[in-house]
């Protein structure tokens, strides 16, 4: 199993934060119970528009006039390096844009290690949005513009994806995404190894996110 060190680190970080968040959520629940018993709402001490620590707290922060999420992300692809940035607007629905650099750590004859770019365009919805956690799903396209190989070479995919963010602070979080390509052009073969055997078709990404307040 090929397991890149960066994904190990990010997954471990995400796991630790998620577990910490869960523990904090439990602690918050206990606090709420205690406070209710003493008839003092726990939120009374929170600043206006304060950030509730419980992941299912009602969203007291008014939505920003221009909801924006930016992320730096990296993808786990066998024998390749793929990392870049993503942007998302809209509170519950909106477009998501991505751009990544694509290279290979195992180049073949006549081709260099740099392959080109991935450009992603999605329509994404966010059915789950809590204070510390949100989950989005979308449908769109990933375009692999392989100008590192030839300036006229591009491959197109229809992509379904899901992205989750765990917000460590009010505006900084860690993200995890999965995506698959149910349709694609003939020059790209998701779920196929270089030797032609079947492989893993699920593309995982992890990164760091920022959202507007």
């Amino acid at each position: 199993m090929t397991w890149p060190p960066w994904l190990c680190g990010l997954t471990a970080l995400g796991s630790a934060l998620a577990v910490a968040g869960a523990a904090r959520a439990e602690q918050s629940e206990t606090t709420t119970t205690t406070s209710t018993a003493s008839t003092t709402p726990v939120d009374a001490n929170s600043p206006p528009n304060g950030w509730h620590s419980s992941p299912d707290s009602p969203e007291v922060v008014p939505p920003p006039k221009f909801p924006l999420l930016l992320a730096l992300q990296a993808f786990a692809v066998t024998n390749k390096v793929m990392a870049g940035a993503a942007g998302r607007t809209g509170k519950y629905w909106g477009p998501r844009f991505e751009v990544s650099l694509l290279g290979t750590i195992d180049p073949v004859a006549d081709l260099g290690p740099f392959l080109g770019n991935q450009f992603g365009l999605y329509i994404e919805g966010t059915p789950l949005r809590w204070q510390r956690f949100d989950l989005s799903a979308g449908l769109g396209t990933d375009i692999y513009y392989l100008w590192g190989i030839n300036s006229d070479l591009a491959e197109f995919t229809l992509a379904a994806e899901a992205n989750a963010n765990y917000w460590v602070t009010q505006s900084i979080g860690v993200s995890l995404g999965v995506r698959g390509y149910p349709l694609h052009t003939s020059g790209i073969a998701p779920g196929e190894r270089r030797d032609g055997t079947a492989g893993n078709p699920v593309l995982i990404s992890a990164g760091v996110s920022w959202r507007s307040e």
Partner: protein, 161 residues
């Protein structure tokens, strides 16, 4: 009430579930995505090609396509003359059309469309491959090269990466 109960039930398990899910997905390994270009013809059988472009600028277009094929294609040798040995003849018929648009103020704007049909035959005249390409540009000088680039890309040497 049901909603609150559901929220309470989901409060802790969801982040944990996401963690477990991420670890499970990660444990399945990296995605395997292979980028490939299949050979348009059998480059071992047809290792040399003679290029003939029929166009307004036949000589320069033939030379351009031959150079592109030398740089990009799977052919070992590319020639433009019939005095050298070849195992395939690539005949291209290229036309460039100017489209002139006149707006309501009377000013004109031109664009150029290039269309090419090509056929690859062996020395006996058997058709091995054929196709067509087209492209458009605001510049006359570019459009022919753009179409010929597409043909060269069609015969790109195969790879899997």
């Amino acid at each position: 009430m049901i909603r609150r109960a559901a929220q309470r039930a989901l409060r802790v398990p969801l982040p944990l579930a996401c963690t477990v899910l991420s670890l499970a997905l990660g444990a399945s390994g990296c995605a395997d995505i292979t980028i490939e270009k299949e050979a348009a013809v059998d480059f071992q059988r047809f290792s040399s090609v003679r290029v003939v472009v029929s166009s307004v600028n036949s000589a320069s277009d033939t030379a351009y396509l031959a150079q592109q094929l030398r740089d990009l294609s799977g052919f070992e040798t590319v020639t433009t003359v019939d005095t050298e040995p070849f195992s395939l003849v690539l005949s291209v018929n290229l036309t460039v059309i100017e489209e002139v648009m006149v707006d309501e103020n009377g000013s004109t704007d031109s664009s150029w469309t290039g269309e090419a049909t090509y056929v690859a035959t062996d020395p006996a005249g058997v058709v091995i491959d054929r196709g067509s390409e087209d492209d458009s540009s605001e510049f006359n000088a570019e459009v022919a090269e753009d179409v010929l680039d597409e043909i060269a890309l069609h015969y790109m040497r195969p790879f899997r990466i």
